[in-house]
Symmetry: D2
Subunit: 339 residues, 4 copies
Amino acid sequence: MKAQAGPEDISRVCRRIEALGFKAHIIPGEQRTAIGITGNSGPVEAAEFDGLPNVAEAIRVSKPYKLVSRETKRENTIVSVNGVRVGGDRMVLCGGPCSVESRAQILESARAVRAAGAELLRGGAYKPRTSPYSFQGIGEEGLRYLAEAREETGLGVVTEAIDVETFDLVETYADCVQIGARNMQNFSLLRRAGRSRKPILLKRGISSTLEEFLMAAEYILAEGNYNVILCERGVRTFADHTRNTLDLSVVPAVQSLSHLPIIVDPSHGTGKRDKVLPMALAAIAAGASGLIVEVHPAPERALSDGYQSLDPEQFTELAQECRAISELLASRRRVPAGV
Amino acid sequence: MKAQAGPEDISRVCRRIEALGFKAHIIPGEQRTAIGITGNSGPVEAAEFDGLPNVAEAIRVSKPYKLVSRETKRENTIVSVNGVRVGGDRMVLCGGPCSVESRAQILESARAVRAAGAELLRGGAYKPRTSPYSFQGIGEEGLRYLAEAREETGLGVVTEAIDVETFDLVETYADCVQIGARNMQNFSLLRRAGRSRKPILLKRGISSTLEEFLMAAEYILAEGNYNVILCERGVRTFADHTRNTLDLSVVPAVQSLSHLPIIVDPSHGTGKRDKVLPMALAAIAAGASGLIVEVHPAPERALSDGYQSLDPEQFTELAQECRAISELLASRRRVPAGV
Amino acid sequence: MKAQAGPEDISRVCRRIEALGFKAHIIPGEQRTAIGITGNSGPVEAAEFDGLPNVAEAIRVSKPYKLVSRETKRENTIVSVNGVRVGGDRMVLCGGPCSVESRAQILESARAVRAAGAELLRGGAYKPRTSPYSFQGIGEEGLRYLAEAREETGLGVVTEAIDVETFDLVETYADCVQIGARNMQNFSLLRRAGRSRKPILLKRGISSTLEEFLMAAEYILAEGNYNVILCERGVRTFADHTRNTLDLSVVPAVQSLSHLPIIVDPSHGTGKRDKVLPMALAAIAAGASGLIVEVHPAPERALSDGYQSLDPEQFTELAQECRAISELLASRRRVPAGV
Amino acid sequence: MKAQAGPEDISRVCRRIEALGFKAHIIPGEQRTAIGITGNSGPVEAAEFDGLPNVAEAIRVSKPYKLVSRETKRENTIVSVNGVRVGGDRMVLCGGPCSVESRAQILESARAVRAAGAELLRGGAYKPRTSPYSFQGIGEEGLRYLAEAREETGLGVVTEAIDVETFDLVETYADCVQIGARNMQNFSLLRRAGRSRKPILLKRGISSTLEEFLMAAEYILAEGNYNVILCERGVRTFADHTRNTLDLSVVPAVQSLSHLPIIVDPSHGTGKRDKVLPMALAAIAAGASGLIVEVHPAPERALSDGYQSLDPEQFTELAQECRAISELLASRRRVPAGV
């Protein structure tokens, strides 16, 4: 749609789409609104929309993913998480423990990451674990502590939903619901996320191609939730000096193909505390819109992932250094592609 | 337990385990029953069970997976699917289309694979697809057709459950419920499978290590379902001459670590029709307990995976050649490890 | 060329090729001779050869590899190593230690593998080692011991050349010169091998695609040596239950694209003694023309690769079981593609 | 050795090492000299050196690589290439075409990269190519043009040696001899490089682990050449959005284990022109000591790798942006580990 298109123009287009038997997706942007079409089995005639007022142009999307494609929407999507804008020209920091372990631990973590300049708090109440005998999270109790931490610190809460059964509960407490790497192709969970009114943080699967990653996001958008943040967190390769191989090249690759914001998780992406800072700097330099970092008040006592968690002091250094690079890039107008 | 242990001996051990606050798992075998213990946070004293009648020995399992380990149960597990024994000294063939497309298609497929000597019928009514816009299966209608095919041909039905929501329905119709590669670490689905009374076919994830694979099976056994068949279906590597790289070495590797049977899927494992036969032969020679193969009455018209499906004639050749190798190995006493 | 083409017909075609400024490659076959053309920068007119006597047809090779392509030569190439035919309908066994360690060790190995039915003896006199401080082989002394073992047992000798400098020496003693996986893209060494009059055993690189593998062979053929045996020996993946992942699907893939024979090395391909037998059986079942297996009279005392070497008794079992499968396949006419 | 150790102190230690039958390696540093010992088959008694003047301490190196280990030499090695210091606190830029194609092309390239701020010129006169029929470089003629470009511009010349045969010639013209990724485990070539008096740029193999990479460098140092620059250039994975997956985490990993400098090649590391700039920025942010970038006066006409080459204008932007990040990091004292 053209920038001056009003609500009436938009709904006129949607009615036309629906009249053709298809589904219309209104994807709002900062300046212009895009309207995606799904449900068509073959190409739709552009001429159908030619005469309608304030239609800028009708574009046929060449990729298998439609709604996530930059062909559908040229300008970057900014996702608002509890008022924090992800995908704009300022990098966003999300920090916190792997798991919510106790009220004291999460409150202490929240204060620490906030003091360091983070705007979002992470912490898992439900944990997907390789072993059925490992600590599986403290569930709803953890969600309540996260909400309490938000209340005290103002930080937005990012926490994972591991299945459809507990999604409702997670959604109630979270400001942004995370879909983890192992669930990137859990299509029922993706569809449920697509029906949520909360933003979704979608992590790349451990051996996911870029196309599969964007198709997973497409599942969410296709159900009507356009607020998706992508996250690179390392892929599985033969290399053994890190737990995973952080594939930063996916950041500019996503930015050229999609309007969705992408952030980076250097904690899972390396699995080693001393590699988190250099890779966080690299991620910001590569153009990532933010970072999600594991921070624990006492990493050596963490119930999970302690070896890759930073202590508050290390996280403060990370925040300062990354902020400096982000500001340098902004001052030189090196902002994510497409803006 | 010793071979002569009776029900009373077994329940005496279980009561002792439960009295200690742990969970007892009775894993029946052809000759001896094993009893696994989970729920303990540290080692359990072997002496607790020393004096009990007909206890053969108390073994501390050294691996992170407990119930699937051959340390827990030395003899091979034989899983019965609609009366067909998987894991014994005869190879088992499962064939059928990728997706159930119509009544005619599945009945025709069933007759063809049965004629070729298959004992189990595969076919997906719910399909996990990379794209939200691809054919997603015909759902319960497909399950009914599968049941009808069973009625007519006597073949056992293997079909996939893709989420907890539809598991009940799939379980009602299936003789064996498949958990697909993308869901190998969908822990909620694994737990649901563990509460099923139907056998489970668990496919290895596309980038799963052997330990992760066995841990996924452990999730199912830990909930009380000991009838799990493992399945190698190819892993993701740099190699591009096949769609996936079929890792046959996992067959003897599983057999030395676990008592569970393992079969091979050469269709997904290669993704190319002309590689299915040689890799099927190789799988049987490597010691696999069976094969699951995509067969379609008219591969060129299949709604999914047609390029890797065999036609009935090709499947008949595969069945004959594999049977010949299987019989040769059996005659030379080359049976799966541990028997 | 047609089957009845005589030397004069062949040299007439070669003269025509050379007159056009290109290089002619006479690749003899069991029944028909193929003549490859290289040195042309664009397509060559088929009409140039149309009128010549006993030319069957002129084919434009569509692949980047030309002389190794089955388009150039339809029938399988049989490579003769000291009179042993590799690539025919009988599987060929090559066994012996990783390294030649002493006269006694190699003679004992040779007798053992011969007794088990091997026709070729392997053993490295020059060893490429990851560490400069590891045992690097005993050099020419080792070559002399290999020659002595040949004299005593009649086995053909397969041994590795690791650089151009020592190629002359290796070539003098060997019946077949091995190019190892690390040197698969050592193009100078490949060119030297192409100027050798001995057959070459070319191992697939640890992360080589099929096309790169065939292109490496093309380097050898392009210099005029058409006696190349390919060898799959495992590729590097994330999987950690074996040292490498043996990619048996490359066997039928090579056979459909190339006329060159392919054998399998299950010792390096698995890196674990107890996986060698099942993967050897699988390789033969997949259609490999033979096996190269590490055998040591006393694996626990081997200077290199002891953990993956078989003792003579294990090798004898392997030979018998593989032979049985090979004979079964031959009796059912399941021979390598293209014959 | 202590900082005040003089030549006499150093040779005293070396004489002691040689008297024990071992080889001494004098590895000079900016402030202190380290002396490595190789040739010992077991541990050497630290007490042997305790009484000697100006010996700071005797350390047993725990890693399989000895001379490259930071245990042997704590401070960063600075490698001087034609007077340009690689490994210090300023990033170093090397630019130029994939192949030297003509005198005009290389002179134009040299002027362009110099104008952009590069201090080193790259360009291959001998090219390792997957196909025997691809352009293989113009050989010595190319080396002469590179020398002429150095004369005119003052840039140091980095060019590849692909075999022992041509190493002498390359060494004569080059200021730094590159060993390419395919030759990382060409041990004869590594040994020849170890006997060179020119610095060596060693690229990581396409599927090399960190340990293998450092062991390859060890081959060079073990022969007496301590001037080795390591280079990450991407590894082979399943990911297909870039030609290789640039593994930037190896930069801090190398820096913590070794004193050798490491630079990054974002051109081969991504294989796509539009990914070169973001990954170059990321590499510098991750702490790399420099970059080697493919630049061509007219990428669309390049004889090799044109699709990943920058034009001079793009390279100028890359140089400016990377310089800005490098200076920011230096001003915040974020310099490579260990200084």
